[in-house]
């Protein structure tokens, strides 16, 4: 769950003095979208994105002469003039949840990862987040299946499910309880089992009083 495990390291960083065309070239050649800008000590001072760089360039509808003047100006302009100084960061000890909340709330594509001294140690992008959750949800994990169990409303459903599966030596890796919402009439439990013997899983759950249902995209009418 810690960012340290899922971040991209080392992060490519640039100095504030780097000119805008050089930074643009670097982003394009490396297919990155975000560059942390750091001072001599490696401390984060700003973030530059491909969008920042694009908007720094003159519009193509301007006259040729104006464009030429602007480009000549850009050749001398350091990234520090356009970088974002109000950036958001996470630390290696932050969790995936911290990153998700920040990425979602601030609508940014990546977060520099900094240590306690503000030094950049990595970068964590939305792509890193999707990869991390892919692993956590067991997506593409060969040899598993997901079962949907109806919550029977009796106490301790997760305890009862875990106990009966363990008693039957049925390996499972994920047990997720989703509360009742507008979409599903009952609260639902998702269970990822690492077996093909789904009959055995069904029978074990039945023994514990649970009903296995076929997942459906329309709300149940029961």
């Amino acid at each position: 769950m810690f960012i340290a495990r899922y971040m991209t390291t080392p992060a490519l960083t640039i100095p504030p003095e780097m000119t805008i065309p050089v930074a643009k070239e670097l982003l394009q050649s490396r297919h990155f979208r975000h560059l942390p800008v750091v001072d001599d000590a490696g401390k984060l001072v700003g973030v530059i994105t491909d969008r920042d760089l694009r908007s720094a360039y003159p519009s193509s509808v301007l006259s040729g002469d104006t464009i030429k003047t602007c480009l000549a100006e850009l050749d001398k302009t350091p990234v520090s003039t356009i970088m974002t100084r109000a950036f958001f960061t996470v630390t290696p000890a932050s969790t995936l949840d911290d990153a998700l909340i920040l990425l979602d709330r601030e609508r940014v594509g990546a977060l520099p990862v900094v240590d306690e001294n503000g030094k950049v140690v990595g970068i964590f992008s939305i792509r890193d987040l999707t990869k991390a959750y892919r692993t956590l949800f067991g997506l593409g994990e060969r040899g598993s299946a997901m079962i949907v169990v109806e919550d029977d409303g009796n106490p301790k459903p997760l305890t009862r499910i875990s106990r009966v599966l363990e008693e039957h030596k049925i390996r499972f890796t994920r047990l997720i309880r989703k509360d009742q919402d507008d979409f599903l009439d009952k609260s639902t439990i998702y269970l990822r089992v690492n077996t093909y013997n789904l009959s055995a899983v069904r029978n074990a759950l039945k023994e514990a009083g649970f009903n296995v249902t076929i997942p459906t995209i329309t709300p149940s009418t029961e």
Binding site: R142, G143, S144, T195, Y196, N197, I214, P215, T216
Partner: protein, 322 residues
């Protein structure tokens, strides 16, 4: 009274002796018994000839599996252990020999099909095969019967373009893995969506790799899908794909666990769908393969639905157009 094409069924007593340990293990010898009893009583009985398979020779096994894995599988059976790689894959002393027959059934059937004795063959054998990978037993499967048959057909009978159509409720990960980079073996699978279903593979976005790009087609269905859903994709997706690939041979991975009565998947097919699938297979084989089509039993665990569905499928497969 309809008229039927001859049908060869390849099966072996050893396939019954692959003991998965009882305890309600779904992949049990009773599956073959149920099918045999049903077929013996059916209108197909007079047109069926049965043949016994030869054990698959090592040279064909190694087109798909590693030597290390084959030794490990054989040793596991001989050592008295009860499973290979995962507790799902229960086995007994005779399981390796049984698996050689199940893989050999495809080879024997192909020789019959190529020898013009028959154009329809069904391997009523177990253990099943489509989950087995190069060096991994998975989902009750040890040797990948369909994949081995595909290589045999290409190399022993010089049929280049092989189409494997797999409508078992589960994705045949082992077949896809074997041929993902091969443009000459097309793998098409209709299965329950991998988010819900074992083994969690077979995403629609996967269409093959490198030179095999475009020769894999996964058609996942949401849980609860019925006959109509399958008929729709047969018409809209499968037919054009076959017409595009123009196979020289067709292998059907016939799994019957998508039946509504079968609790090993969330699919809700009726027995009638299997008749339709048999009609389709016959039509495709007649169109491109001079009628030759090989069908291999994969899953199907609810005994009476399994037996009825096999009969329905085979009836479609051999019924001659008036």
């Amino acid at each position: 009274m309809p008229s039927f094409a001859p049908l060869a069924i390849i099966t072996d007593p050893l396939c019954h002796r692959h003991d998965t340990g009882g305890n309600d293990h779904p992949e049990a010898p009773a599956r073959l018994v149920a099918i045999k009893e049903r077929l013996d009583q059916s209108q197909l009985a007079p047109i069926i000839t049965t043949a016994q398979p030869r054990p698959a020779e090592r040279q064909w096994l190694t087109t798909i599996h590693s030597d290390e894995y084959l030794y490990r599988f054989e040793e596991t059976t001989l050592s008295g252990k009860s499973y290979l790689d995962h507790q799902d894959n229960q086995l007994c002393f005779e399981s390796y020999e049984a698996a050689l027959r199940a893989a050999g059934a495809g080879l024997t059937a192909i020789d019959l099909l190529e020898g013009s004795q028959t154009s329809r063959a069904f391997c009523c054998a177990r253990p099943p095969g489509h989950h087995a990978e190069r060096s991994l037993a998975l989902g009750f499967c040890f040797l990948n019967n369909a994949a081995i048959a595909a290589r045999y057909w290409q190399q022993a009978h010089h049929r280049r373009k092989v189409m494997i159509i797999d409508w078992d409720a589960h994705h045949g990960n082992g077949i896809q893995a074997a041929f993902e980079e091969d443009p000459e073996v097309f793998y098409l699978s209709i299965h329950e969506h991998p988010t819900w279903s074992f083994p969690g593979t077979g995403w629609q976005e996967e269409t093959g790799l490198g030179p095999g790009k475009g020769a894999t087609c996964n058609l996942p269905l949401p849980p609860g899908s019925d006959d109509a859903a399958v008929k729709k994709i047969l018409l809209e997706k499968v037919e054009p794909t076959i017409d595009f690939f123009e196979p020289e041979t067709i292998i059907i991975c016939a799994g019957f666990d998508g039946h509504a009565q079968d609790d090993m998947s969330g699919l809700c097919y009726t027995t009638d769908l299997y008749r339709h699938l048999g009609d389709c297979a016959a039509r495709w084989a007649d169109r491109y393969c001079q009628g030759r089509v090989l069908s291999l039993l994969e899953g199907g665990y609810h005994l009476s639905s399994l037996a009825a569905s096999v009969e329905a499928y085979l009836t479609g497969l051999v019924t001659l157009e008036p």
